[in-house]
């Protein structure tokens, strides 16, 4: 962003800090700190947090409203606090005019800045923008509310103030201002609740990263909301003993909670190098503190022992310097460990990562394996982007990445058996001499890759080789299972067609011939021949019917002809129990998908007819999210033993071969339900 906005952030930060220091100085004047020095000092510290965190975020992400709002809240709070202290001091010195103006500023500033700031902040955190355009009018309403509230305070008559009077009071508007206070307070309470609700709602829909950030805010919001309710409730009931501390705690939780949650959440998101700043700050602060302590102890201690008093002890100073120089490296290293832990939290140490890498991948399913691997690598190295690439022939495909919403990367082609040039630094994954794939790592600009990280990644790729090899083998296995199903289906289609064009056709012709022969026998008056031909023809008709069912069971022609929907309707019509087909897709799918879905339903219905003692069954097949979901339910006795050699289990292999899942729920007395999911792409 432009330098200009950044300087505004810096200026706001400096102003806040100057005011914090000024207020702290005011506090040293007797009585200015008020009746509760602890919470006032705590508040001052919290205000400083707003300044620091707000300025950091505004500096790094000037487009995000978060930083600016935190700065606004911080400024509003510090001016209010300073004005409060100034009022007390001015009163004691008898300068009522100055005291009145200070109190006047104090009276409206909170409503004008802090209250709207908090509500809007809750809406924009952590993305820095409103959840949707519709909230714009809400924000405008908050602005109007703040203006009305501040205006009412500016001209109000101070009735409960014994000494001071509002220099700008308009007596005629006293009752209007009173009504406005109540209205504005109430409206802000409602707006705050709406904002908290929006935090909860957004949490449920948020991406993984936003969710992590929101979780911190949600904790603060829920805590503050609960305290507010207690404070208001107790206030209404007149229980000031409960209400006042609850109110104070509410204010404190909001005051401290917002910047702290923002700091933790946004640091966790590794926003554009904030963590590097924090990391360095912690390291240097710790080192400086340690060296100061060394000097203090050595110089002070040696000085006291020698008893030299005022004379600067050259010996002690030299000793301290030597000690500090010797201690510098170990102290720095310790400090670095401490800083890493504080800033990066879960980032594992390199050794830990290598040691637990395969172990942490142990319980992952095939689909989760590579994404988890990418996540582990990112966590271990602090990388912005990690991609896992798999080689198939000469092509290198990116199959997983971190963060999960990383845009897809184009496939690469091997260059003479070696990795092509990729956008990020690539680490080849080999098993023996076989190139299996690669891991690419993109580091944030503020934290370039160190030789240590590079060594770590080389170690990791050795371990990744095993994983990638297994994944490649499993993928090959899956492909070969699918090929098997496809060729099996093709064979079945061919067999049905052979039956249809061959045996069935011949037998139909034969039955026609037999019938004509019977007519002739009847005409010739040969009763015995007629009845023998009759019997033969009936037998033939039964054979034909059986053959037809057999052929249909091998492969239903209607499935190829008219698709899954028509085939399922046909199946439902022919079932011996009443079948209600609640939903069936009309789209066409690949032959494997259509056949698998069909056979799942047909096998399930066959089981209903054979075992369930059901009067009705319901079939539902739906296409959604790239998957066909199938459910066959009956109203029978239930309690089906899924493993007892039912044909359904035989279908498991078939369903899994096309990448699907199948399951059965059958409790005694509640009927049986077979459900399956098959990945599909309609054609």
């Amino acid at each position: 962003m432009t330098g200009g906005t950044r300087w505004v952030a810096l200026a706001a930060f400096v102003l806040t800090m100057l005011l914090v220091v000024a207020t702290a100085v005011l506090f040293t004047v007797d009585g200015a700190i008020g009746s509760d020095p602890v919470s006032n000092l705590l508040a001052l510290f919290a205000i400083a947090c707003y300044g620091v965190v707000g300025a950091l975020i505004a500096w790094r992400l000037p487009r995000s409203a978060c930083g600016w709002l935190l700065l606004l809240i911080g400024l509003g709070l510090v001016v209010t606090t300073a004005a409060d202290a100034a009022t007390t001091i001015a009163l004691r010195e008898g300068r009522t005019g100055f005291a009145s103006w200070a109190l006047w500023l104090n009276s409206w500033l909170l409503v004008a800045t802090v209250w709207p700031g908090i509500v809007v902040y809750l809406l924009v955190f952590p993305t820095g923008a409103l959840p949707s355009r519709r909230w714009r009018s809400f924000v405008i309403a908050i602005g109007v509310l703040a203006a009305v509230g501040a205006g009412a305070h500016m001209v109000a008559t101070w009735t409960d103030e014994p000494v001071l009077a509002n220099p700008l009071a308009i007596a005629a508007l006293a009752s209007v201002a009173d009504a406005a206070f109540i209205l504005v307070s109430f409206a802000f309470a409602v707006a705050l609740i709406a904002a908290v609700v929006s935090v909860v709602l957004r949490f449920r829909r948020a991406s993984q990263l936003d969710r992590q950030a929101l979780r911190w805010l949600a904790v603060v919001a829920v805590l503050a909301g609960a305290l507010l309710v207690v404070a208001i409730g107790a206030g209404v009931l007149g229980l000031h003993r409960i209400g006042d501390p609850a109110g104070a705690l509410f204010l404190l939780s909001v005051i401290l909670g917002l910047p702290l949650s923002a700091a933790v959440a946004l640091l966790k998101r590794r926003l554009s190098g904030i963590e590097v700043v924090a990391n360095r700050a912690i390291v240097y602060a710790a080192v400086v503190a340690a060296i100061t302590v060394i000097y203090a102890v050595v110089v002070g201690g040696v000085g006291a022992a020698v008893g030299g008093g005022d004379r600067p002890d050259v010996l002690a100073a030299v000793a301290a310097t030597v000690l500090a120089a010797l201690a510098f490296q170990p102290v720095r290293r310790r400090a670095q460990v401490l800083a890493d832990r504080v800033v990066y939290g879960e980032r594992a140490s390199p050794y830990e990562l290598v040691a637990t890498f395969t172990e942490r991948l142990d319980d992952a399913t095939l689909q989760e394996l590579l994404p988890r691997m990418a996540t582990l690598v990112a966590e271990g190295t602090g990388a912005d982007r990690v991609r896992v690439w798999l080689r198939a022939g000469d092509v290198l495909r990116a199959v997983a990445g971190f963060p999960p919403d990383l845009p897809p990367a184009p496939s690469g082609r091997l260059q003479g058996g070696e990795l092509p040039i990729l956008d990020d630094k690539a680490f080849a994954v080999r098993h023996g001499r076989d190139l299996l794939g690669a891991i690419t790592v993109g580091m944030p600009p503020q934290e370039p890759m160190t030789p240590t990280t590079e060594r770590l990644l080389l170690d990791l790729t050795n371990q990744a080789a095993l994983v990638l090899r297994n994944v490649a083998l499993l993928e090959e296995l899956q492909r070969s299972r699918q090929r098997l199903v496809t060729s099996q289906d093709e064979a079945r289609r061919q067999l049905e067609r052979d039956l249809h064009d061959g045996a069935q056709q011949r037998l139909v012709t034969l039955s026609m011939d037999l019938r004509m022969a019977r007519e002739q026998a009847l005409a010739s008056g040969d009763a015995e021949l007629t009845s023998r031909l009759d019997a033969a023809e009936q037998e033939l008709a039964r054979s034909l019917a059986e053959l037809r069912e057999l052929a249909r069971g091998i492969h239903p022609a209607i499935l190829t002809q008219n698709g899954l929907g028509a085939a399922l309707r046909s199946l439902a019509e022919r079932s011996t129990v009443l079948v209600e087909l609640r939903s069936a897709p009309e789209a066409r799918y690949s032959p494997e998908v259509e056949a698998t879905a069909y056979f799942v339903v047909s096998e399930a219905l066959a089981n209903v007819a054979k075992h369930a003692r059901a009067s009705r069954a319901w079939v539902e097949v739906r296409d959604g999210d790239g998957r066909l979901s199938i459910e066959v339910t009956d109203d029978g006795v239930g309690g089906a033993d899924v493993h007892a050699g039912s044909g359904l289990m035989g279908l498991t292999d078939r369903v899994e071969a096309v990448g699907g899942r199948i399951g059965v729920r059958s409790d005694p007395g509640t009927g049986t339900s077979v459900f399956a999911e098959i990945p599909c792409a309609s054609r």
Binding site: R497, H500, D501, Q504, Q505, R506, V508, T509, S511, M512, D513, L514, R515, M516, E519, E537, A541, L544, A545, R548, R552, P556, A557, I558, T560, Q561, N562, A566, R569, S570, A572, E573, R574, S575, L578, V579, E580, L581, R616
Partner: protein, 219 residues
């Protein structure tokens, strides 16, 4: 009555042609695929033009529903020529596809029905005269489908028998003969069926068939 026969099996085609000519039909042409069939009903002199075509649903080149497609083409281009589609599997989907334009002169039968020589000749005759011939299996399936959603349980067994025959395109007299009932009784049953199913009584038998079919296939 002039008939054209289309089936890719020579053996069956010849047998069918003999069965029909023995029954007094004039077999004016035989076709082994859809294109040949369409040529048979297209540019031909009036005395070679068939009144009805008997068509196998599965024919070359793809062996899926070429016969059905050809039958629908004939019905669209030559409404005066009846088509009777034969299939080794009964699929209501196909029957409805064929009958969906709502006019008469169409039939759909299981191929095995040719063995019932008289019944089959009767069906060919009916379709050639602009009537209907629907396989009883289709009707049974439709009834089954209907019962699963909204049971036709309201109908008595006898009414269901009458409904099935009516939907096949049989006249009241034929229904009466088949069920050993007087024509008057059949008429009473038909009225009861129409009332229970909420249908308007149809003026002629052909429309009656279609109304019943339309009811049965609506789900």
């Amino acid at each position: 009555m002039r008939v054209a026969v289309a089936d890719d099996s020579v053996l069956f085609r010849e047998g069918l042609a003999r069965l029909l000519s023995d029954g007094g039909f004039d077999v004016v042409g035989q076709a082994a695929n859809a294109d040949e069939l369409l040529a048979l009903v297209g540019e031909v002199p009036p005395d070679r033009r068939p009144d009805v075509a008997v068509v196998d649903i599965r024919m070359p080149p793809s062996h899926t529903t070429e016969g059905l497609v050809a039958a629908k083409t004939i019905r669209a281009e030559h409404p005066d020529i009846g088509v009777l589609v034969l299939s080794q599997y009964i699929e209501t989907e196909h029957a409805m596809d064929l009958l969906s334009d709502g006019s008469g002169g169409a039939g759909y039968l299981l191929k095995d029905r040719v063995a019932d020589i008289d019944g089959f000749r009767d069906a060919v005759q009916r379709v050639g005269e602009g009537g209907s011939a629907i396989d009883p299996e289709v009707i049974a399936r439709l009834v089954q489908r209907k019962r699963a959603v909204d049971p036709i349980a309201d109908l008595t067994d006898r009414e269901r028998d009458v409904l099935a025959l009516m939907a096949q395109g049989r006249s009241n007299r034929a229904i009466g003969a088949a069920l050993s009932l007087s024509e008057k009784t059949v008429e009473a049953h038909v009225r009861a069926i129409f009332t229970k199913l909420g249908l308007l009584p149809a003026p002629d038998e052909n429309r009656r068939v279609l109304a019943v079919l339309a009811f049965l296939r609506s789900t």
